[in-house]
């Protein structure tokens, strides 16, 4: 199982029956593949609907039905469409149970940077700032390091997406919760040791008293 699959499988276990979930593009999108069959989860697509389904078969694309990345998707039975003000009313108003997003950097205060690298990449924040502020739970799903460098920092150096909003970080190495005391490692992938993880994490890691094996 590769790192991304480990992460997506673990994040999927966070979702509960009746949840409304917004998945970011890239790795977070993979979470949809691992939802337990016995629960009913609705995916919200910030471009204007709830009830996002999988990609259509080739030749069955509907030009009027795309996701927030502009890619053809399908809608499940019971989907509902709305305009962008309603869509972000749902997001900002706390009606999304959780948003799963990637990150460039996260820090001990729950700050998140995932929308620009000054002078290099300025794609715009799209809906990310609203999602991170508005969703009831913010789950960051990302590989633990980028080119060997830690992405979990004492303090973000890139421009923030939002201050103090991250609740949970899931990487291929483990699961971390952001608390008032700092970042707590609550689950660990048994392929790694605590020392392995600390070595590639710039932030101070608090090890949970009841540190568990990461369920995947």
């Amino acid at each position: 199982m590769n790192a991304k699959e480990i992460i997506a499988r673990r994040v999927a276990k966070e979702l509960k029956d009746g949840d409304v979930i917004n998945l970011g593009i890239g790795l977070p999108t993979m979470v949809a593949n691992y939802i337990p069959e016995d629960i009913d989860v609705l995916f919200q697509s910030e471009n204007g609907f709830v009830g996002l389904g999988p990609a259509p078969e080739i030749g069955h694309e509907d030009k009027d039905l795309v996701n927030a990345g502009g890619q053809p998707v399908t809608a499940v039975l019971g989907a509902a469409f709305f305009d962008s003000a309603v869509s972000f009313g749902i997001i900002r108003g706390g009606h999304v149970s959780a948003t799963v997003l990637g990150a460039l950097q996260v820090d001990e205060k729950g700050n998140l940077a995932n929308w620009m690298v000054p002078g290099k990449m300025v794609p715009g924040m799209g809906g990310a700032m609203d999602l991170v502020v508005g969703a009831k739970k913010v789950i960051i799903s990302m590989t633990h390091t980028a080119k060997g460098k830690s992405k979990i920092l004492k303090k973000c150096t890139l421009p923030l997406t939002a201050a103090g909003q991250v609740n949970m970080i899931v990487t291929e190495m483990g699961v971390m919760e952001v608390t008032d005391a700092g970042i707590v490692l609550t689950e660990m992938n048994p392929e790694f040791s605590v020392e392995d993880i600390k070595k590639v994490t710039e932030a101070e890691l608090i090890i949970a008293d009841d540190l568990k094996k990461m369920e995947i």
């Binding site: 471009n47 030009k63 009027d64 502009g70 962008s84 700032m129 939002a162």
Partner: protein, 215 residues
């Protein structure tokens, strides 16, 4: 009042230097024929307010590639690398706004509100130059309304008076911009008789609409 006009007649209203809101999300719901007509017409120095910059060959992106946009007010330009290039050369001025804030600012502009308070962007560079208001222990940014000279709206169906219906994800910013411009021009895929869209299902009432083009 006959609101149905030809593409050419509709495009005559768009002049150099105007502020134009354009509907659509990554080109889905964007009135594409209007984009082509504007490229052909060559109108320039536009300020465009829209969710995103589309793709280089689709949606609003075409106007950027053809260097007709002086200023872009949007939430996302990542799928149109031409914007980044023109930002570097100083050919385009780009104001990035969180998507939900952009939607609310346009809605405020069309609904006669002086602004809205949002928690989005607090503690980020989005708050620069904006009034911060603390209410009941929480900090918000005061975001001001946005309006335009022209709104270019993509609709799936329009009746002959301009009652509009948008299919699926084409709705996005279209009903919002239809409220917030001095002149509202609809590119409708289909024009039907009045009454064919049930009054319950009308998504933009005709009172917002000035001109309709079948595209």
């Amino acid at each position: 009042m006959n609101k149905i006009v030809t593409l050419e007649m509709a495009m005559e209203h768009i002049k150099d230097g105007m502020t134009v809101m354009i509907g659509g999300f990554m080109a889905c719901g964007t009135p594409e024929k209007f984009m082509d007509a504007l490229v052909e017409k060559g109108v320039k120095d536009l300020t465009v307010i829209a969710n995103d910059a589309g793709f280089p060959d689709r949606g609003i992106g075409k106007l950027v590639v053809n260097k007709q946009v002086k200023r872009l007010v949007t939430s996302h330009v990542g799928l149109n690398p031409e914007v980044g290039k023109q930002m570097n050369t100083g050919e385009i001025d780009c104001e990035l706004i969180p998507q939900g804030t952009l939607a609310e600012r346009i809605r405020a502009g069309g609904n006669g509100l002086g602004g809205i308070l949002t928690p989005t962007g607090v503690g980020t560079i989005v708050e620069e130059g904006k009034q911060k208001i603390e209410l009941d222990g929480k900090v918000y940014l005061l975001e001001k309304p946005l309006r335009a000279d022209i709104a270019l709206v993509g609709a799936t169906i329009s009746d002959k008076k301009g009652n509009l219906y948008y299919n699926k994800a084409t709705r996005n910013f279209n009903p919002l911009i239809a409220t917030a411009a001095d002149l509202v021009i609809i590119g409708a895929e289909k024009i039907v008789e009045v009454g064919e869209i049930d009054g319950n299902d009308v998504m933009t009432p005709a009172l917002f609409v000035d001109y309709i083009v079948e595209v």
